[in-house]
Symmetry: none
Subunit: 107 residues, 2 copies
Amino acid sequence: MQDDDVFRALADASRRTLLDRLQRRDGQTLNELCAGLAMTRQAVTKHLAILQSANLIAVQRQGRAKLHFINPVPINDIAERWISKFQRHHLRALSALKKALEEEDHE
Amino acid sequence: MQDDDVFRALADASRRTLLDRLQRRDGQTLNELCAGLAMTRQAVTKHLAILQSANLIAVQRQGRAKLHFINPVPINDIAERWISKFQRHHLRALSALKKALEEEDHE
DNA sequence: TTGACAGGCAACCATTTGGTTGCATAATAT
DNA sequence: ATATTATGCAACCAAATGGTTGCCTGTCAA
């Protein structure tokens, strides 16, 4: 599955924070993204590499600076392909859960 | 963040497969969920425990069997709180999801 | 009651992960 | 030309992760 990289990239809170920051202001450099985070620049570099290989961010060199741009497409893909699956079965699943919990209460 | 458990639980392909299976047929036992998977029952047990502590599934004992029920709420929560940030241009689809959830709550 | 079936617990293991430090390289400013 | 700034690379480390095996407990059926 190609979604796997996206899911795994999103699993880390630091990486979600980085996406958060890029979402607030797109096109930030590595050093800008490092500011205020409790980890070294190299750690951030690794996180960004993971986000990039999951296609969640795109990178553009500008002189010695490296600009990072968020790519919302994979997240939207997941939202549409995967999460909607759960919504489709939401009613049935919820009623099954409810029924199960009620039966549990009667024991 | 409380979403963290959900994100991390969803990061593993085996766990997503388990959710997939429960989505197809809810209320399966541990042994049923193990069938055809290339890992031991104990590995599946661990995955189910992670899914449970992320509140993605609920469990009900029935005699010596253990029934597993999917809980779509945390995933919908993420869709609402987090992923929606990244799909501003899909506001219409999102409001449809929100509306569906609200209708469900009123049952 | 005895055996088979469903699941739980704990120890152990290899690999992955998230992080570090130290040094190197490339572009810019003075 | 030189110092400074922005980033890259590689080795290393501890902890988390995903998995195994072995054995134990509880429940059902014959």
